[in-house]
Amino acid sequence: MPLLLLSLLGCEDNFDPDLANLSRNLVVMSDLKAGDFPSVKLKTTILLGELHSADSPEDAIVIIKPENDDQFLLRYDAIEERYINEDKTIRENTKYNLTIDIPSFQSNTLSASTTVPLATSLNVNSVKSVEVDEANGKEFFNISTIIDTENLDPDQNYYRLRVFLEEQIRTKNQDGSFSFVTSEDSDYVSCGQGIFVNGLTCSEHFDGFLLDVSSMEQESIELDLVSKTHDPSIDIVASRLFFEFSSLSESTYNFEESITKLIESSESVIGEPVINFSNIENGLGYFGASSTKIDTIIL
């Protein structure tokens, strides 16, 4: 890179910005999933120059209070390294308030709130075309499908779309019989590996496309699944596409988007810094929610 070239002439020194924090901060990461039990991950940041090890405080008092309902406590699960309450279920269209106190760490209470959006059915219209080409001795097939966004809730702007492919593979046994194995080849249809959406960028770190329909002009989303390398020696007898469509709270969307941009820009030689999103008062991270519905297409 040119910086390397330019620095051939120059020197490097430590840089110590006077604003660098002298003490760690708390990071909350929680996406309340409708129908699931509440879960909150809590970690500390790492200071510049410190070893790469973040703490997961275990003595925090994590309380969630649903709107018009009693608050409840989350306990620390040492295996999952997160705070959970398996007795509670997250409900759609409900606002939740979060408070976290860790007197041993900091005196201020962390707080945030989020509302769980209503799940939305995606209404996948149709498979537009299927093509099989021969090239370089391999088979390829192209699939396009259009997702109608016209009927989405006008008050709900943020979504995540994940696509999974399930293939039933038939293998011939030595005795001449056949075995059937079902594989979920999520790698194939995950970000950038065979699925493209016009005007959208896939976040491989969240394995899905993030949509802000308020900024979209089109009334439908066109998915192109292309160039699936198909090994002729594998006998696929059935394939299904799963469309996992999640309605996201604004905070979940913003956090996932900012993390995606941050990672991508840090990998680019000409990337720009991204200001981290947070809706946590007195802390970092996010407290958000999502509701998911799955549509299926049999290929």
Partner: protein
């Protein structure tokens, strides 16, 4: 006794008063009244008769009396003076009263008007090139003027004898005693005080002394060759950076930022044609070979209506046209570049040529040095960098009033780097490749016809094509092999930005009278843009051979978007002289652009009041500016990864208001002082969103993906200079603030602009040791540029289970780099031979080796590999200044 004494005193007083009365009662000779009648008599006879009748001596020289002139007249009780007036009325004769005589004299101005017009051209005596903005003044009158861009001047002066002064910086002043009774054409040629490679000393007793002009700074080309610069490579950019209110990144990287504006907000004119100048070497050097620059003016405020198209400033650079009289040339070799110029007549006095070439010679040692450094770090590969520019001009004097100029400029930079490294650890083999290539080039082709219509109308027709072509390719590949399984990760990017303007510009100057200099004109420009940005990685199946990503491969994938826009501008301005020292420039420009099925029309008023007295000066101005072309930079480092985009339905034109005011004073010792302030408000500014530009191309609705916002800048500037004598110096101090507010950036909070250097102090000293040697020193200090630095790290695990440490940025431009300061010194030695003049420069750039930070990076700390730390990188340490030049 007493009575007698009193009588005598009384008599004496009476005698005295009687004498006074008799003297006062004596009639002047021209007031003697008489009756006189004459019929067809010669003038000589008439004069003798009048002398006889009045007993007034009327002497005259016989040769003055016209022989064939006869007089017929009749007067009754008329004064002699009136009679003479009437009978001499139709001659060139007049009379003058000398004691009690009336002397007949010749009066050549008798029929001349009270005021006459003197006009002409001021040219360089050696090259024949016109000198623009040469000061012209009348010694005993309230009259002053300057030449226009064509070197033409025109002014009204009293008839009779006038002493006219012509003053032009770095030229011998001229005084012409003009005795004229009718309109006169006076062409003046002026002798340059110093040629290339000569010591120049200005003398305040003859050269114009004025306080520094903070709004329209005429870059001191006389100091260009004297001031120390990187590698001894004199350059306009480094000279402009010494002006108050101008900042940049470290060591000039990133170009010029004028009064809180960004580099793309500078209108750079190359002989009147806009150039999308990114400069050479990331902006450290300007596009212009300094040896052929004739004048350079930096307008920071009070911008006249004839300048349009950018928000913040105008750098108006005029190059030499070529010597009409004699073949001349120069060649110089420095640590940075080799350059050479040759110019001369094609047909003496009628046509000329100029060819100038400059090429960096850095690649001679950068390649070897980078190879050596890579080897030391157990890597393979090298880096390379070069730039060049070429100027060619042909000038044809079609007539005394028409000049045809054909010029072509091309400048190019290329920077390449490829580094490969292998490592093995516990049976795991890793191979890492980093490669990139950056290229940017400018082309400017121009055909100009300069015409003079009549005595006060001038036209300048310019048909031009100007373009910028920028392309960047970067490729990072990481291969990990373990147990015969190979994992490959790569990231590659392709950035292209082409902008091409085809324009026709017609400027007209009309010298209405001594008080009104009117300019008006129009331009029609077709802009073509081709922006394209593409990033791919191992997840993209669009690159089949992942092991080898090439420029051609990405070019095949990337479909740059093509957009066009048509711009039409109209302007009119009147430069009104109010007395000798005060001018009011008032004008308006109407800018319009048709793009993307959208039309924008912007009226841009300008007004500036300037008083430039001999001792003190003042100025106040208000300008509204606009900009239809947006440059979106993808990095805060000022690297050439900027994409030029046109205004569209989504991207509104940027516009600004600039208010400036200042005052100046000149001391008896010839020291000029100036203080000024400015305020600038900018809106519809464009920026990439956080994360940078990721994808621009055909079919992508990319213009929705930018952030639009506002900005403001204000500051105070102090300038002090001494330009005359053996020891000259100047220093300036600038206090400035510049900030931005974008809805989509920094959580909608205001943030400091990346080139917001809060305090800047610049000093330059030049000591002429003798006629063959001089010493110069310049020192610059500026508070650090704002940067966005991480304050801590966020542990993050993605859905695939990959753990990362992500930098946490609390806000945009949340801290500042350490203060920048640097001192350069140089000794220059001059020798004159019969056939040439040589100059040798020896000195030090960054003389005390200050490690000025250029950028910061977050990476593993070598002292503690399991931790991340910030490191600052300095660009240019102490470096030798070494340059040899020869002018012939």
């Amino acid at each position: 006794m007493l009575i007698q004494i009193m009588k005598r005193i009384l008599l004496a007083v009476l005698f005295f008063f009687t004498l006074l009365l008799s003297l006062s009662a004596q009639v002047r000779p021209d007031e003697i009244r008489l009756d006189y009648k004459v019929l067809e008599k010669g003038l000589e006879e008439v004069l003798l008769e009048l002398s006889d009748k009045t007993e007034v001596n009327i002497p005259f020289a016989n040769n003055l009396i016209p022989e064939d002139y006869s007089v017929t007249a009749s007067f009754r009780n008329e004064e002699l003076g009136e009679i003479l007036n009437q009978i001499l009325n139709k001659t060139e004769l007049s009379f003058k009263i000398v004691g009690d005589q009336i002397v007949i004299i010749k009066d050549e101005y008798k029929y001349a008007p009270d005021f006459i017009t003197v006009s002409g051209r001021v040219t360089d005596k050696l090259s024949g090139e016109p000198l623009a903005y040469c000061d012209i003044s009348i010694e005993s009158s309230n009259k002053a003027s300057t030449t226009n861009e064509f070197g033409f001047y025109k002014m009204t002066i009293p008839n009779g004898l006038n002493r006219i002064y012509y003053r032009y910086l770095a030229y011998e002043y001229r005084v012409v005693e003009l005795k004229a009774k009718a309109d006169t054409i006076l062409n003046i040629s002026m002798q340059p005080k110093a040629l290339l490679n000569e010591v120049l000393i200005l003398d305040k007793s003859v050269d114009e002394v004025s306080s520094p002009d903070q709004q329209n700074t005429s870059l001191a080309l006389d100091k260009l060759q004297s001031i120390a610069s990187l590698g001894g490579e004199a350059d306009l950019a480094s000279l402009a950076l010494l002006s108050s209110g101008v900042s940049s990144g470290a060591d000039g990287v990133g170009g010029l930022n004028v009064r809180g504006g960004s580099a793309d907000q500078n209108l750079i004119l190359l002989d009147g044609t806009p150039i999308y100048g990114m400069g050479h070497a990331l902006g450290i050097f300007s596009n212009f070979n300094p040896n052929i620059v004739r004048s350079a003016n930096l307008h920071k405020g009070s911008i006249p209506a004839r300048y349009n198209g950018r928000l913040s400033s105008v750098l108006d650079v005029k190059l030499k046209d070529g010597n009409l009289n004699k073949t001349k040339g120069d060649v110089s070799l420095g640590a940075i570049a080799l350059k050479s110029t040759i110019e001369g007549p094609l047909s003496p006095g009628k046509s000329s040529y100029l060819i100038s070439f400059r090429r960096s010679i850095l690649d001679l040692w950068i390649q070897n040095a980078s190879e050596y450094i890579n080897e030391l770090n157990e890597r393979e590969g090298s880096s390379d960098f070069y730039f060049y520019d070429i100027n060619t001009k042909l000038r044809f004097k079609l007539s005394n009033k028409h000049d045809l100029n054909l010029s072509y400029y091309r400048g190019k930079d290329e920077l390449g780097n490829s580094v490969n490294s292998d490592a093995a650890d516990n049976g795991v083999l890793t191979e890492e490749l980093n490669a990139d290539n950056w290229q940017w080039s400018n082309n400017v082709l121009s055909l100009k016809l300069n015409s003079q219509y009549g005595s006060n109308f001038f036209g300048k027709l310019n048909l031009y094509q100007t373009s910028l072509d920028l392309s960047v390719f970067d490729y990072q590949r990481f291969i990990e092999t373990s147990n015969n399984e190979e994992s490959l990760f790569y990231s590659a990017g392709r950035y292209t930005s082409k902008i091409s303007d085809l324009g026709l510009k017609y400027d007209l100057d009309y010298m209405l009278n001594d008080h009104n200099y009117i300019r008006f004109g129009t331009s029609i420009v077709r802009h073509s843009f081709e922006p394209g940005v593409l990033r791919v990685n191992e997840g993209d199946q669009i690159v089949e051979d992942r092991n080898l990503v090439t420029v051609r491969l990405l070019d095949d994938i990337l479909e740059a978007d093509n957009r066009t826009a048509n711009e039409i501008d109209l302007y009119v301005e009147d430069d009104i002289a109010i007395g000798k020292y005060t001018r009011l420039n008032i004008g308006v420009s109407l800018n319009s652009i048709m793009t993307d099925n959208t039309n924008y029309i912007l009226p841009l008023p300008r007004i500036a009041l300037t008083h430039k007295g001999k001792v003190w000066s003042m100025n106040i101005g208000l300008s509204r500016m606009s900009q239809f072309q947006h440059m979106v930079s993808n990095t805060a480092l000022g690297l050439p990864t900027s994409v030029w985009l046109p205004s569209s339905a989504a991207l509104k034109p940027e516009n600004s208001w600039i208010l400036n005011a200042g005052t100046g004073y000149v001391t008896d010792a010839g020291i000029g002082l100036a203080v000024g302030a400015y305020y600038k408000y900018m809106n519809n500014l464009l920026s990439s969103q956080e994360g940078g530009i990721s994808n621009i191309g055909e079919g992508i609705d990319w213009d929705q993906s930018f952030a639009s916002g506002n900005g403001s800048a204000y500051g105070v500037e102090f300038d002090v200079d001494k330009r005359f004598g053996n020891f000259t110096w100047f220093f300036n101090y600038t206090y400035s603030r510049s900030n931005r507010l974008f809805d989509l950036l920094n959580n909608s909070q205001e943030f400091d602009f990346q080139y917001d250097r809060r305090h800047q102090f610049k000093l330059a000293l030049i000591q002429k040791i003798n006629k063959n040697a001089e010493f110069s020193l310049n020192w610059q200090y500026g508070t650090g540029n704002p940067i966005t630095a991480p304050v801590e790290l966020l542990p993050f695990t993605d859905v695939n289970g990959i753990e990362r440490l992500l930098p946490i940025y609390s806000s945009k431009n949340n801290t500042k780099l350490p203060d920048y300061h640097r001192m350069d010194i140089v000794f220059s030695f001059y020798n004159n031979f019969d056939w040439a003049k040589q100059k040798i420069s020896l000195g030090l750039y960054n003389a005390y080796n200050q490690r000025n930070p250029f950028y910061i990076d977050l990476r593993n700390n070598p002292d503690s590999p399991s931790s991340l730390s910030l490191f600052q990188y300095s660009l240019l340490p102490i470096l030798p200044v070494l340059n040899y030049s020869l002018a012939f």
